[in-house]
């Protein structure tokens, strides 16, 4: 079924409500609404979309992180929220730039309890710290791991192994 709202309607409503917290619009191949927002405003924005009478964006599809090492200062990590309004069949993405030295953002587990593990996984793999998250610990890797593996500078393979000779594996 077709979604009831177009991207511009929702974008204008967001722009009108949050003004300069909305940084820029990005069009993607699957033309879902993708908006760059200020990290400290993200929590209110999601709360506002959740309680919005018409939009009713009340389903959190996904939280994930992306690492762009060669972005300029303070924009190396990007946190992506995928939100979805089931009643109106409308999907949107909120993206926030975070600096790599203190990637801190407010947790949204108070709005969506689904965010609990998603945030723990993003913390585990990217090192993004979610303030007042009930139990921010590593979820997929061992607790004794000291680095965040999904960042681009880390190798895929386990560096402590000796039996694979790099020459034969094109490394």
């Amino acid at each position: 079924m077709e979604s009831k709202f177009t991207n511009d309607q929702v974008f204008d409503a967001l722009k009108q409500q949050f003004g300069d917290a909305i940084l820029s619009l990005e069009n993607t191949t699957d033309n879902y609404l993708t908006v760059f927002v200020q990290p400290n405003e993200a929590h209110e924005m999601i709360q506002w979309l959740y309680n919005h009478a018409e939009f009713k964006v009340q389903f959190l599809t996904n939280i994930t992180g992306i690492h762009y090492p060669d972005n300029e200062e303070g924009k190396e990590l990007v946190l992506v929220y995928h939100l979805h309004s089931l009643q109106n069949n409308f999907r949107l993405r909120l993206k926030c730039y975070l600096s790599i030295d203190n990637p801190v953002i407010a947790t949204i587990t108070d709005i969506f309890s689904a965010a609990n593990w998603l945030e723990r996984e993003t913390y585990d793999l990217f090192g993004i710290i979610f303030e007042n998250h009930p139990n921010l610990k590593r979820i997929l890797n061992e607790d004794s791991m000291d680095y965040h593996p999904m960042r681009k500078e880390y190798h895929l393979e386990d560096q402590t192994r000796q039996d694979k000779d790099n020459r034969f594996f094109g490394r």
């Binding site: 079924m1 990005e26 993607t28 191949t29 699957d30 879902y32 993708t34 009340q58 389903f59 959190l60 599809t61 996904n62 994930t64 992306i66 992506v80 995928h82 089931l86 069949n89 999907r91 993405r93 969506f112 309890s113 689904a114 609990n116 593990w117 998603l118 996984e121 793999l125 590593r138 979820i139 997929l140 890797n141 607790d143 593996p149 999904m150 895929l156």
Partner: protein
């Protein structure tokens, strides 16, 4: 609560636990641990138990974290398919075809009608296989092993059909970006006709063993229930969400691969408990059979793959005789598929719910970032809330009715 989860101490009781007088006995700590017959996979639950009643549960997952997403950043696009079918290995064709559709959506490839119908048939077979294993395992956990042995024979017949199409049984790596590597063989046609003819009767026999079985109903009705709002808040999708009463199904909500041509309905439960999850999955198997029948009866003629030489390997005789085919063959094998830069999120209705692929590509050989939206990982968080206050044996049945697959849980 002790910091290191591998050490359980039952000395200090969590603050929110009311203290019990000695006549009632102390709160026991029980470990539904990594190797346990009840956890059909490898995850750990440290249960605080009073007698038989579960008071609280602390989960540890990630025991088979294999770093799929990091691995996907090192492989060209058509080499990622073998990874995707190790996500939910009970219904791997759905993962493969979902991944192919994501790349086609990014590259803007139009797939002919015949391929869409073939894909629907294969995906619905995979859904049947996935639900069969889940429902027969609920039977095993409530003590009836016969269902499992019966339904595994049916699953073997579905494996035979996969072998006709792609040569593999479980981790199928089925299809290619742009279609299939070969058309349906005559062996496949015979097998699917035989399957459609005999499977429904055997399935009804399996169903009659459980659906109106007094013991099974007593063991599952009202067990591990969750309300619709809590399910939505926990990000439930798939049969578990439909059992709670929300009729969200990606095939209907955002139809892909010409699902809109088929007429089927989405079963919805009321209570969200284990019995509803069981019945929703049983009904979905019947609906899948209906879809396969409709798709197989009017399977359109035409090519079994899109005409995209940049992605689809040319025929062997062309490779030996024609220059372009040789160049295409070489480029594709070395991973130089012309995938444009871009960002796309595409989701399919997997065995456990909305299986999403968030793909960001910078035009290079390999994806810049690929994230899998794994339904198991998201809805398994609700497990403590569903079993608190229930007895231990209900906790076991609830876990198997949620169909948590370890591979998809910690990708």
């Amino acid at each position: 609560m002790s910091e290191d989860l591998t050490k359980i101490d039952n000395t200090n009781v969590p603050a929110n636990m009311e203290s019990h007088d000695t006549i009632e006995g102390e709160i026991a700590t029980l470990n539904l641990g990594p190797t346990h017959p009840a956890t059909h996979g490898i995850f750990q639950n440290v249960l605080k138990v009073d007698g038989e009643k579960v008071l609280s549960s602390e989960q540890t997952v990630g025991y088979i974290h294999r770093a799929f997403e990091k691995l996907a950043e090192r492989r060209p696009f058509h080499q990622i398919t073998p990874i995707t079918d190790r996500l939910n290995y009970c219904s791997s064709p759905i993962n493969n075809i979902g991944w192919h559709m994501t790349v086609e959506k990014l590259a803007g490839i139009e797939v002919p009608k015949r391929v869409q119908y073939m894909r629907v048939i294969i995906m619905e077979l995979a859904r049947i296989a996935d639900h069969l294993i889940c429902n027969s395992v609920i039977g095993v956990d409530t003590g009836a092993l016969t269902g499992f042995t019966w339904m595994f024979i049916e699953r073997e017949r579905i494996y035979d059909m996969y072998e006709e199409v792609c040569g593999a049984r479980l981790t199928t790596n089925i299809g290619r970006i742009g279609g299939f590597e070969r058309d349906f063989t005559t062996g496949f046609h015979e097998k699917i006709k035989d399957f459609l003819a005999t499977f429904p009767a055997r399935f009804e026999e399996f169903n009659s063993m459980f659906e109106r079985n007094r013991i099974f109903m007593d063991r599952t009705i009202g067990v591990g229930g969750i309300s619709a709002e809590r399910a939505l808040n926990y990000g439930f999708t798939g049969p578990n969400l439909r059992a709670a009463g929300v009729d969200y199904d990606v095939r209907v909500h955002a139809p892909y691969s010409s699902y809109e041509d088929f007429e089927f309905y989405v079963p919805v439960g009321t209570g969200g408990d284990t019995y509803d999850r069981f019945c929703v999955r049983q009904e979905e198997i019947r609906q899948s059979i209906r879809i396969i029948k409709q798709a197989y009866d009017n399977l359109p003629e035409g090519p079994y793959h899109a005409d995209v030489p940049g992605f689809y390997l040319p025929k062997k005789e062309d490779v030996y005789n024609k220059m372009e085919a040789l160049i295409y063959h070489f480029k594709i094998i070395m991973g130089e598929t012309p995938v444009p830069a871009g960002e796309v999120y595409h989701s399919v209705e997997g065995g456990n719910g909305e299986l999403g692929y968030y793909l960001i590509s910078d035009g290079g050989r390999t994806p810049y970032r690929l994230q899998f939206r794994r339904p198991c990982f998201i809805y398994y968080q609700a497990y403590p809330e569903m079993i608190t206050g229930q007895t231990l044996s209900d906790a076991v049945v609830t876990m198997s009715s949620m169909n948590v697959i370890a591979g998809e849980l910690d990708a």
